[in-house]
Amino acid sequence: MRPFVDVRSLRLRFETGEKDILSNINFQLHDGESVLLLGPSGSGKSTLTSCLNGLFPRELDGEMEGDIFIDGKKTIDYRPGELSKQVGVVFQDPETQFCMLNVEDEVAFGLENIGVPFEEMEEKIEDALELVDMQDYKESAIATLSGGQKQKLALACILALKPSLLILDEPTANLDPIATKDLIETIKNLREKIKFGLVIIEHKLDDWTDLAERCLLLNREGEIFNDSLLRTAIRNNRSQLVEQGIWLPKVAQFFLKDNPDQMELPLTVEEFAAYPSRFAFVAEKRISRNSSESGISILETRNIAWSARKRDIIKDVSLSIYEGEFIAIVGANGSGKTTLSRILSGIQKPASGSISLKGKALKEWKESLLRQEIGYVFQNPEHQFITNTVYDEVAFSLKMKNEPAETIREKVYEILDTFGLLELKNEHPFSLSQGQKRRLSVATMIVDGQSFLLLDEPTFGQDAQSNAELMRLLQQRHERGATILMITHDMEIVDQYASRVVVMNNGEVVADCTPESLWDKEAKNLKAWQLELPVSVQIKKIHEEEAYYVSTTS
């Protein structure tokens, strides 16, 4: 049978690059086949997408060699736009995939492009929206949709064109865990309704594993170093996977920690639950957390509240933060996490209530002195960059204080070295990789000796390696006595690092305890707050049930 996609000796280089971004790529996909395409950031995954949907070489600044056949015809022989009926792509960023203001017009846009007659459009639009369960939003403004809904709309726009191959280019990278699950669920349901081939580009494997068995692995050199079943790849190429910064499923990671030599790994909690005894299990030794019992309060809030557009975002929150704590703020999107962190750091003034830092009301602090106490790392690191080189970026606040040049140099070099950025000191901050940008933004926030650091989802959208590196740095900082407060959706991080966890729900603090006591809360509460248990806890619970089962039946 002729393969639907046939890539032969593909090599690609950008005009600006010194090395090939893709080299010697060969693979075939059959009609209706699904495949996971994994690789670290910068491995050319998205470039490959552009090759498959025919955008390259037409729009490429650079050179491309080799052939790609789609349905037996070379991509370069398709007329521009024609390939969109064969290959559809859902991209990563929910904000930049649309050009119209409301949902139906956006779906119609694709249909208009391929010349669908006016009379047929209405029905096609409705069908496409129904496939992703968005029919109720037909007349909604796109701006009012959530990130997850936008991605579903992007999917509907593609489905309306009825492509035979669907490429998902990290579609969940900007979504929270709940929206991620929902999108993956939607795609699973689709598979039952219509037939299409699927290429899933990801660096996080969780939840995708049962959609595709086959897995292609790209390395940083842009070569495919594995084409096998995912399970086989994890067995045979595990070290490369880790080295390339690919996130193994959380369950697999968990087992690897204690059994680095184990060959067969469970990929989902369900898989583990089916045969718990198949997998060697050692009770987890957790990282010893410095407990926060310094007892010295650094920040106190009393009954703070804030509202925007007649909606209460923060309602009556009172918190005390103690020196040396590692606090995680968790909760659903829109629960007020970011607003709370901004109020705590003095960026946003509360509408009512009081905040004091080290016993002095926040509003009485001089802004420049306040910034030497509190650092705040924004979600998008680029927003915080203000100079033209990595070095100047870190040196900036020291220069503002007119410290002697020699001291500045010393301090900056030390920090850059710790953060693995010293070699990049003359680069422009914007030209760094995602992980480097994040580290730089943290570096700029602690160089002045800030002892209280707030971070807004610092692990969002990063590959596994960058993430581990960042957490290591934060942990190090924490051990040296810094107080850390971070917003996160990642319960593994909460479980591993936090000494205290604050749960926000509808603008209120609904739980404020240690992670352990949070995991022990009733399941229905956790569900209402849109939290899921970390894998280690899930597994422990399964084990306990198993042990109970074994002990009662034997």
């Binding site: 949907n53 955008l55 729009e59 521009p80 736009g81 024609e82 390939l83 969109s84 009926k85 290959v87 559809g88 991209f91 960023d93 904000e95 930049t96 995939q97 649309f98 050009c99 119209m100 203001l101 139906e104 017009d105 119609a108 846009f109 694709g110 249909l111 208009e112 492009n113 391929i114 010349g115 669908v116 007659p117 006016f118 459009m121 639009i125 796109i142 701006a143 726009c157 593609i158 064109l161 901004r342 750091s345 960026i347 946003q348 802004e367 420049s368 910034r371 650092g375 705040y376 924004f378 998008n380 680029e382 927003h383 915080q384 960059f385 203000i386 900036f396 914007f430 700029t444 926030m445």
Partner: protein
Amino acid sequence: MFLQRLNPSLKALTIMLFVVLLAMIFDPITPLLFLIWTVSITFLFGKVAWKKYTLYFIPFLIFAFGMLWTTIIFADTPTNKDDSITLFGMTYPRESLLTALALSLRVLNVAALSLLFIFTTNIVHFILSLMQQLRLPPKIAYAVLAGYRFLPMMRDEIKIIHDAHRVRGVNQAKTIKEKWENYKRYSIPLLASSIRKAERTAMAMESKGFTGEKNRTFYRQFSIKKTDWIFPLIMLLGFSAAVIVSLEMGYLKLFS
């Protein structure tokens, strides 16, 4: 509601035609009468909230006032110096005063025409109609629409960048030079992110089969109906009447 249902391209062309015609008139009576006509049409045939309308109109009043007094002061030397009018205890050449009034009323009239358009037109429909009636290239039309979507994102982003820079300890700018430096610091990340957004959006649109070719179909179809021509006719009627009245009163003045 007739103005809302009017073909947007035809409406725009009509407005533009009368802006050009007004530019040839240098007496105060014609623009005054046509101003009244334009505002009346706006409220008679378009469902326009008068509060919002007034709010939009006020800046033009200020602008027109500035125009009025400066034109009196900086007016070209009148041909007939002896013919003067005394107002508020000051004497002005009659010709300068009339010209100043004419120019200020022109500003207001142009404003009224623009507001008629803005308050009764769905701008997305305007762009779609430009493509269908006036052969605006789809590449331009959809780029403009895509750009329009960035507006709220950029507003949010400006605020975030402002806060993010404050945290870095910038922003306590006191002198103009420091303020200027701050503006430059804002603009680079803002421009950089908008360029990236634009590139990504273009790519997403192209992968949905957009090529910029003119032979596309349309989900929202626009055409110029026979009844649409009533609007330019009504406006022409009003304009002619204004010119004739002004002529009868002996004020009409074309060009300067």
